[in-house]
Symmetry: C2
């Protein structure tokens, strides 16, 4: 390992990456709004292009909302989501550009210069929302919790069910909690450095 070239302490490396795993079962210990707010107040600082911050998070807490969500998931994701202490729908607001004059005061014209067309907004929101989803998963782990991100679902179904305004697109659904019994499969292989990084 060459991780001694890092400044981040080893315990934090383990917490966020090396020992953190995608969980498929959870204990019954609840996840509080305070924990989610603490996660947000940390990861909100992660960078996005033109500071656009398209990510939106829906916490699915009521039994009724959970049922509405689970029906749109792939079969393999239903039981674990029905049983998770908390499930978050990560989505993007495709009308994020309305906030840009406030969020990116250096260049208030960006809203109209880059984002007057919906397809340009959707592409940018997908890219930057996924960046923020990465930060969010790291933040869940920073709270000592396990994340179980999923993309196996009927996206159109979730969009219609939870975002009646037609302006949001689901990016991922994430179960959150303390890992339960047999929470994970053996770690799957990662690509080697030389398969991923080249130099020109």
């Amino acid at each position: 390992m060459t991780t001694d070239a890092l400044v981040l302490d080893t315990a934090a490396q383990d917490l966020l990456f090396r020992e953190a795993r995608t969980a498929n079962t959870f204990t019954e210990e609840p996840v509080s709004d305070e924990q989610i707010q603490a996660i947000y107040e940390l990861v909100k600082f992660g960078p996005t292009a033109l500071n656009q911050q398209p990510l939106r998070v829906v916490l699915v807490r009521s039994a009724e909302a959970r049922e509405r969500l689970v029906q749109h998931l792939s079969d393999g994701n239903k039981a674990k989501t029905a049983a998770a202490p908390l499930t978050a729908i990560l989505a993007v607001d495709n009308e994020f550009h309305e906030e840009l004059p406030t969020l990116f005061p250096h260049f208030p014209q960006a809203k109209d210069a880059f984002f007057s067309e919906r397809p340009a907004r959707e592409a940018s929101a997908q890219m930057n929302g996924a960046l923020q989803a990465g930060y969010f998963i790291i933040g869940v782990r920073a709270a000592g919790l396990a994340a179980g991100p999923m993309t196996g679902y009927d996206a159109e179904g979730i969009n219609k069910e939870f975002f009646a305004d037609g302006e949001h697109s689901v990016l991922a659904v994430v179960n959150i909690g303390k890992p339960g019994e047999n929470a994970w499969y053996p770690r799957s292989p990662r690509l080697a450095y030389d398969q991923v990084v080249t130099t020109v």
Copy 2:
């Protein structure tokens, strides 16, 4: 602040999110291959759907390659990139599915079941590559370095210039180094918790 609900120590929170900033100037201190490998060996563990790992990284080290890159950047990104100690092109391999039988041994059929069509591969690579770009930016910060991610460029130009196989798509270009003088603008505002998170 409600970050006392987090397990991650405060110094790590500051290093990765709270004090880390997008840098626009850098010192001349070089960034070594060992540092980049240490970053990769940490962030490779971040989760992707079906463990697909579509991210690929091109380190632009030669003067000739840097010139080839800079010509495709927006004017505002040219000078700072020409002067950065190291610039990385973050891209996705749209043929990532070829590795899936090895990377996701639980379900070797995933390659053909989900990814036989190029548009499905591109959409998945964009989403999961952006997640990994988020992890990579966090990893740069974990190495005590500043990242300067940019999406202002001619994407098609970069793809043709650096990925002649037609199978890769640039996601972001990231300058990497120790922050120099006047490295950043004042922090731009972040959306409030209540603007981002709702409960159902």
